[in-house]
């Protein structure tokens, strides 16, 4: 119905290929009335959304079901949004150009907090009533999953239900319940009451929140029997049996991660104290080499991709990494496929591994020591020692590399000026390591070390969840101090605006009172906050002001252990007592060994599998 007008819009926008669909391996199923329809929405542009592994898994998995059709929806870029508004076209799905509001279910994936404004904006463009209480029979159910779904209270008034944990199993249960509910004459509330009993489902409207005079939470209680006091996340124990999409969609245009992503395992054994992903995906569960190689071979044949990457939180912790790489190289080298290994930890990066990867292509090296001094690295439990970093970079320089990127965070708990200045010292030592390598072995006459710092954002479900964030002025002081201390011109120092990081902290730790702020911000035009061209701090501040909410309350306050946290309803399987113990150990500058060295008793063993029982 909108196709002709939609096509005319495409002639007036940048990158029309974002909106056309029909890519190789995309799935087009007829949407008959007996089918259930699911609009899988990614709250960012096509090239970002198509780089996300989760959407690929669930899209292909759900489309294998006979009774379900799953179509993709991305946020239109501003030029397209304006064109569509002018023509009166609502938000459409990519496959069949069906209005999103006509789907049975509209699901968003929450990858990071700064995409929340896009969710509100997409609901508006779709013409779906924003607040759950405004939706009626005939409107779709709006649900959210993904890593932020464990603490997305700011979206509580807008989302009918959240899915906590891994979607592979639970999606079927949700759709099955929908099938039974549909046409039964029962209310929307009754459907939600049914699924609230499914483990992993959080229906925010079934919980009442009361506040104290100081704005902290007084009580957070379910208001009916079907809603559990705590919602436990869903995980899949036998990871080898999970669905691996092989006939991946091959986009026409270049997307951010335009390659096959092979997911080796979920979770991370490390327990870096700032890292939320390191806790919410516990316990670590691996796939076997055999399963991975089979999936890799099929994906290569089905896509024609020229690049494959091993994708996991700390890839080099995969127990059979060398065996896997050997097997994969047997397939990739002949087919001229580049195998790339991201997120390597410095402590077990080795010459051997590097040489293997180099068989195909030599890429730049990136390390994330996160903090400038050993003291602070111990505080955050980033078990990387300076000598290991120097040893690894030396090996890399001998292997012909001459560019290194180092990533750090600023504003970490207990950080002093000495820790900040330590970042520059560490970069100097990497430069020295280059000149220690005999000249005949090095490539190029010179070396470049790029240092990047970002502002630490304390996140829920980490030992630092009670910590205040550094104020923007404090970060600016530290960054300029570091910048002045770096005199070596071989070091390039980058740091970026911390206003986004401040808002990220507010929405990461915020409660449901922020929902109206979000709606106001979108009214003022906020969207694509992760993009510097769009981010407008003043509009956000105005949105807080008119709703009478002080954002600093959420970001800059040290929270007491006894306070009720807005995300306490979610049970990720790691105990609060463990986070408290880890928080205290951080202040004692004591590290905690990885899951494979020694169990720290976090609580994830309750799931009965994974690394806890290796």
């Amino acid at each position: 119905m909108y196709k002709k007008k939609f096509e005319a819009c495409l002639k007036r926008v940048q990158k029309p290929a974002r909106y056309i669909g029909n890519e190789f391996n995309s799935i087009h199923k007829e949407m008959t009335s007996d089918m259930m329809s699911f609009a899988f929405c990614f709250p960012d542009v096509y090239e970002v959304g198509m780089s996300h592994l989760g959407i690929k898994i669930l899209y292909h998995m759900m489309n294998e079901w006979e009774d379900t059709v799953c179509e993709r929806v991305f946020a239109p870029w501003d030029d397209m949004e304006q064109e569509m508004k002018k023509e009166g076209i609502p938000l459409l799905s990519l496959e069949s150009y069906t209005p999103v509001r006509e789907f049975d279910m509209v699901g968003f994936t929450l990858q990071y907090e700064m995409s929340y404004s896009n969710i509100v904006n997409m609901l508006k463009l779709a013409g779906i009533p924003l607040r759950t209480r405004e939706r009626k029979i005939g409107d779709p159910f709006v649900c959210c999953g993904g890593p932020c779904a464990y603490h997305a209270e700011p979206l509580s008034d807008l989302v009918d239900f959240f899915i906590l944990g891994e979607g592979e199993d639970i999606m079927r249960e949700i759709m099955q319940a929908y099938k039974e509910w549909r046409g039964s004459g029962r209310t929307r509330e009754e459907y939600l009451e049914t699924i609230a009993k499914i483990e992993g489902i959080y229906v925010p409207s079934f919980y009442d929140v009361e506040y104290n005079d100081d704005n902290t939470i007084k009580s957070f209680e379910p208001n009916r029997d079907c809603a559990p006091k705590k919602v436990k996340k869903r995980i899949i124990l036998n990871f080898d049996d999970t669905y691996i999409p092989e006939k991946l969609i091959v986009p026409f245009m270049e997307v951010v991660h335009d390659r096959i992503m092979l997911e080796l395992f979920r979770g991370c054994i490390r327990g870096c104290r700032f890292c939320q992903a390191g806790y919410i995906y516990r316990p670590v569960r691996e796939r076997s080499v055999k399963r991975l190689v089979g999936a890799a071979r099929n994906a290569i044949d089905a896509t024609g991709y020229e690049e494959m990457t091993l994708s996991s939180l700390s890839t080099s912790d995969y127990t059979c990494l060398f065996e896997l790489i050997d097997e994969l190289l047997k397939i990739t080298v002949d087919k001229r496929i580049n195998l790339s290994l991201p997120s390597l930890r410095v402590d077990n990066f080795s010459m051997e591994l590097m040489e293997k990867v180099q068989k195909v292509k030599k890429s730049g090296l990136t390390f994330a020591p996160e903090a400038g001094t050993q003291r602070l690295r111990d505080v955050i439990n980033k078990n990387v020692r300076e000598e290991e970093l120097i040893r690894t970079t030396s090996i890399a320089f001998e292997g012909g590399y001459n560019r290194v990127k180092l990533y750090f965070m600023m504003g970490l708990p207990t950080e002093t000026d000495d820790d900040v200045l330590g970042i520059g010292d560490l970069a100097d030592k990497v430069i020295d390591a280059f000149y220690q390598v005999p000249p005949e072995k090095r490539k190029g006459r010179s070396v470049t070390v790029t240092v990047s710092t970002s502002l630490f954002v304390p996140k829920p479900f980490t030992p630092f969840q009670w910590e205040p964030q550094n104020r923007i002025s404090e970060l600016e002081r530290k960054a300029s101090m570091l910048s002045k201390s770096i005199t070596n011109r071989k070091i390039i120092y980058n740091w970026h605006s911390s206003q986004v990081s401040f808002l990220e902290a507010v929405f990461a730790k915020g409660d449901r009172r922020l929902g109206e702020v979000l709606i106001s911000a979108v009214e003022f035009g906020c969207k694509f906050d992760g993009w510097t061209d769009f981010f407008d701090y003043e509009k956000w501040m105005k949105a807080f002001e008119i709703n009478g909410i002080d954002p600093e309350f959420y970001a800059y306050r040290r929270i007491g252990y006894d306070e009720i946290l807005p995300w306490d309803y979610a049970d990720i399987g790691v105990n609060k007592s463990f986070f408290i113990a880890e928080h205290k150990r951080a202040y004692e500058e004591k590290t905690t060994p990885s899951c494979r060295e020694k169990c720290a008793g976090c609580g994830a063993a309750q799931f009965g599998g994974g690394v806890c029982f290796e």
Partner: protein
């Protein structure tokens, strides 16, 4: 090594795929098909592939051309067509495979069909009048990126109305095309619709149907 010329179509929404993306689409289709293509020598080997006359984004093509090098004697033309079509998206399909007869450098013009839409009854006379004009000036960027006025009427070789309904008009156009002189059909559409509040050039369906080249003193269908 044997170089083959592929004639293919690029229809429907595939008209919005840019030239660079189209090349990548062919490269990946070839990878999937397992066809024995030739790779360039050198540090970063890539498939050898050239396109005769890139289509403007937003214009469909019924007979486009790509030259691809295959390893000698390993596959027949029919096999190339069949295996590629299985591995290309539905809107891009190979029509035939054969020898390279003419050089892309000799391309001089192309034929297009252009369907124009109007919100009210279409004013055919006004459109016919347009083609009777001696001079219609537009600013065009030359290869040195300098804007220069050109008279597009000098680039229109032939035109005719091939279909007419109450609110649509379909034209057949032959326009200069190729490296030396080139006029994009959407510029003609824009000029026809200019000043008519019932017509929008962006609504026009434009399709390139044929490509012609110079062969001695005569025009030949490019193949």
């Amino acid at each position: 090594m044997s170089k083959r010329r592929l004639k293919f179509s690029k229809l429907n929404m595939a008209k919005f795929i840019s030239h660079l993306d189209l090349m990548r689409c062919f490269q990946r289709a070839i990878m999937r098909s397992g066809l024995p293509v030739e790779y360039s020598q050198g540090f970063n080997p890539h498939q050898r592939m050239t396109f005769a006359l890139p289509l403007p984004v937003g214009v469909t093509g019924e007979g486009e051309f790509a030259d691809i090098s295959f390893e000698d004697g390993k596959v027949t033309d029919e096999e190339i067509k069949e295996r590629l079509n299985k591995n290309l998206p539905p809107d891009i399909q190979v029509l035939s495979v054969g020898d390279l007869i003419f050089k892309a450098a000799d391309i001089v013009c192309a034929e297009y069909t252009m369907k124009l839409y109007s919100d009210k009854k279409i004013d055919t006379e006004k459109i016919k009048e347009f083609f009777g004009k001696d001079e219609v000036i537009v600013m065009k960027r030359n290869k040195k990126k300098v804007e220069k006025p050109i008279n597009i009427m000098e680039y229109i070789r032939a035109w005719e109305v091939i279909d007419e309904t109450e609110r649509t008009l379909t034209l057949r156009l032959v326009l200069d095309a190729g490296g030396e002189r080139n006029l994009k059909p959407e510029i003609v559409a824009a000029k026809i619709c200019e000043g008519d509040e019932n017509m929008c050039a962006d609504d026009a369906d434009i399709c390139r149907t044929k490509i012609f080249c110079r062969s001695g003193d005569v025009l030949e269908l490019f193949r």
